[in-house]
């Protein structure tokens, strides 16, 4: 096979990986601070995608513009979810949290089915079918925009955690829960804020992914799993780790699909996951707890 095929596929995998990374970033932020694994992560992403469908059909807004209001809606949703429900589960065992979020996921998947029907939906922009041709390299325009937006959102989030007082306070919560309580931080509020930020992330990712593929109500669980795989590979709780994990998984699937039968490509993903769990359980970029 000619070399340019490899190059094209690798670039595509890299770009898709960045957007996956953003989606997983939300999960990672939430776990890193709240220590709750969001088993309804993919379902929350589909909410954002359907919001985008509604906004697009009513207002005709470009997905890249809708990113901001939809992330804001998901922010509020996430805040409410954490403040009203999950905060009281913080001290409960993992399996209890798991059951709570599975119940929420079931309600979301079927609620979306009732509201939007079962058919795959998407948005048609003027650049839906565009691609750039650079020499023998062909780059999907949608993936490029989405990947760029993913980098911007990640940078903003990173800046927030590094340079603002609230961001620092949240990091303090994550590092030392008791210590945070001692110095008088309102931990429950900070947790809600973190969950909200994580939700906003996955909301933004959902809007961008809508430029790449269609949404159905049943899409959620597969993405919850994907987000998990990426975050564990990159390092639960690590922000750069999530992006790196996304890129690693994106590229692995792309190249494995090229070299072997594509229907087997996910096996390589899970093989990487198992290797990481065994050799470096904290993930590639994670710190030992």
């Amino acid at each position: 096979m000619p070399l340019d095929v490899y190059l094209n596929v690798a670039v595509g995998g890299l770009l898709t990986g960045l957007v996956y990374g953003l989606m997983a970033l939300g999960l990672s932020v939430i776990f890193g601070v709240v220590r709750v694994v969001n088993f309804a992560h993919g379902e929350m992403m589909t909410i954002a995608m359907y919001l985008a469908i509604t906004l697009f059909s009513v207002l005709g807004l470009d997905p890249l513009v809708m990113l901001v209001p939809i992330a804001a809606v998901l922010f509020v949703f996430g805040y409410a979810l954490q403040a009203k429900l999950i905060n009281s589960f913080i001290t409960r065992p993992e399996h209890s949290q798991f059951l709570l979020l599975v119940a929420i996921a079931i309600i979301l998947v079927n609620g979306l089915l009732i509201i939007y029907g079962p058919d795959a939906r998407n948005v048609q922009t003027s650049y839906s079918f565009d691609s750039f041709e650079i020499g023998r390299l062909i780059i999907d325009a949608n993936k490029l925009y989405a990947a760029f937006a993913a980098l911007v959102v990640t940078a903003l989030l990173f800046a927030f955690f590094r340079f603002t007082a609230t961001g620092t306070a949240i990091r303090a919560c994550a590092d030392n829960h008791t210590g945070a309580l001692v110095v008088g931080l309102d931990v429950k509020k900070l947790y809600a804020l973190t969950f909200a930020l994580g939700s906003a992330c996955v909301g933004a990712a959902g809007v961008m992914l809508l430029m790449i593929f269609d949404v159905t109500p049943a899409l959620g669980p597969a993405y919850t799993l994907l987000a998990f795989v990426i975050v564990i590979t990159g390092g639960l709780g690590s922000m750069p780790g999530a992006l790196l994990g996304g890129v690693l998984i994106g590229m692995t699937e792309a190249l494995a699909g090229l070299l072997f039968q594509p229907s087997m490509k996910s096996m390589f993903t899970f093989a990487i996951l198992v290797l990481v769990l065994l050799i470096r359980p904290q993930g590639i970029m994670g710190r030992r707890a």
């Binding site: 096979m1 000619p2 095929v5 094209n8 596929v9 595509g12 995998g13 898709t16 079927n110 089915l113 029907g117 079962p118 058919d119 795959a120 998407n122 048609q124 839906s128 079918f129 565009d130 691609s131 041709e133 062909i138 999907d140 325009a141 790449i212 593929f213 269609d214 159905t216 109500p217 049943a218 597969a222 994907l226 699937e253 792309a254 699909g257 090229l258 039968q261 594509p262 229907s263 490509k265 996910s266």
Partner: protein
């Protein structure tokens, strides 16, 4: 697969016969000797939620319009009892039992091969006739069932017609492609088509050879690699075996990666469905699908088209509606001839079915000894300006092929 497993021999390990008799008495003959005139109670099982919700709800549209059409055709009335299988085998089986307990005298459904097999076992044990609307896995009618009928082509039948229709089209356009790449989904349907292709290909002396087979996961999120790989083979035509979502993904990738083969020949669902046409707009034009379809020249087709247009404006008639309708037509027709709702009489009547005033291509609806309609023909259809035209077989064609594929 036809090995018989002790269906006659009495085993010492057999669970006490007395208990069995008691249990049977419990579900007594609620459906024997119902007078003709009362509507036949038909339990319809479809996956209307879960991962197959889209198809299940589409089939349901076919169910909803059928009762009215049957009246127009002077067929006996059906009382439809709907059940949702939730795309789950457990639920499918329990729902089938529930429908029968509630008095269903005949079952119809269930799109998916796994769910259909689960329902078939219940129907067979209870001796209630079961007409499968859609499910292509061959083993279902190879099990020696006596109450299970299928008016839908099996994988090998779909494939046989695909090859014959392709040859017809190649002759019409006077072009014989030399190479093809096969891109197929790795699920039950995709594998049965792939397996069939390997077995049958030599016999049909097709002009092309398949240079590569590329399989992808049914849950694939991104098909850019698959399309890049297919493009790299430089094959003249793409043979696709897909579902709906992946058909849309493949088309988008083909445009983005600027790959325009001579044609896309799709064997199976996806490339002609409403959602595909709507989502892709003018980019949907061109692909040719080889599918169980309807004969646009048949009289009943018009009835079905009109009824669907009235009930669901903007939705084109498709395989899901047609074969769900025909399954119910088989039920009504058998009820008419049997003159009773006695399940055994119904099953015998179905076995003797001979409906020529139908919708699907071919001589009509009839069943062989295994309960399979082996006379069904599949069509070649092409997307053109958001509509679908039939290119082959000649008897049910209403247009000439557009060849080769053109893209803006």
């Amino acid at each position: 697969m036809s090995r018989k497993i002790s269906d006659t021999r009495v085993s010492r390990r057999t669970v006490t016969a007395g208990i069995g008799a008691a249990a049977l008495a419990g579900v007594a003959p609620f459906n024997i000797g119902r007078a003709q005139g009362a509507p036949l109670k038909v339990g319809v099982l479809l996956p209307r939620s879960g991962t197959q919700a889209g198809i299940g709800q589409d089939c349901q549209r076919g169910v909803d319009i059928t009762v009215g059409i049957l009246k127009q055709m002077k067929m006996p009335d059906l009382q439809i009892m709907n059940a949702d299988t939730e795309t789950n085998v457990d639920v499918a089986r329990a729902r089938a039992e529930k429908l029968i307990a509630d008095g269903a005298q005949l079952l119809v459904g269930a799109f998916d091969s796994g769910q259909s097999t689960a329902i078939a076992q219940v129907a067979e044990q209870k001796g209630i006739p079961y007409v499968i609307n859609i499910a292509a896995a061959p083993p279902i009618t190879e099990q020696g069932y006596k109450f299970v009928f299928r008016n839908f082509p099996t994988g090998p039948m779909i494939l046989r017609d695909a090859f014959l229709n392709q040859k017809e089209i190649f002759a019409l356009v006077n072009d014989q492609p030399k190479t093809a790449v096969m891109l197929h989904v790795n699920d039950t349907y995709g594998m049965s088509i792939l397996g069939g292709t390997k077995a049958m290909f030599p016999r049909f002396e097709m002009p092309y050879k398949i240079v590569e087979e590329i399989a992808y996961d049914p849950a694939a999120r991104d098909l850019s690699v698959e399309v890049a790989k297919a493009k790299a083979t430089n094959a003249e035509v793409l043979i696709a075996v897909s579902r709906l979502n992946d058909a849309i993904l493949v088309t988008r990738e083909m445009i983005k990666q600027r790959w325009t083969p001579k044609s896309v020949l799709s064997i199976g669902p996806g490339w002609y469905e409403d959602q595909y046409l709507k989502t892709l707009g003018k980019n949907a034009d061109g692909p040719i699908s080889f599918v169980p379809w309807y004969d646009p020249n048949k009289k009943a087709t018009k009835l079905l088209e009109d009824a669907l247009a009235k009930a669901h404006a903007g939705i084109g008639l498709n395989t899901n509606h047609v074969y769900t309708f025909e399954a119910l037509l088989v039920a009504a027709d058998a009820y008419k001839r049997a003159g009773s709702a006695d399940p055994k009489a119904l099953a015998d009547a179905i076995r003797a079915t001979k409906i020529t005033d139908n919708v699907s291509p071919g001589p009509g609806i009839q069943f062989d000894a295994k309960g399979q309609n082996d006379q069904l023909k599949c069509s070649a259809i092409q997307n053109r300006g958001g509509k679908l035209v039939t290119l082959a077989p000649k008897a049910s064609a209403n247009a000439k092929p557009d060849w080769p594929l053109k893209r803006a």
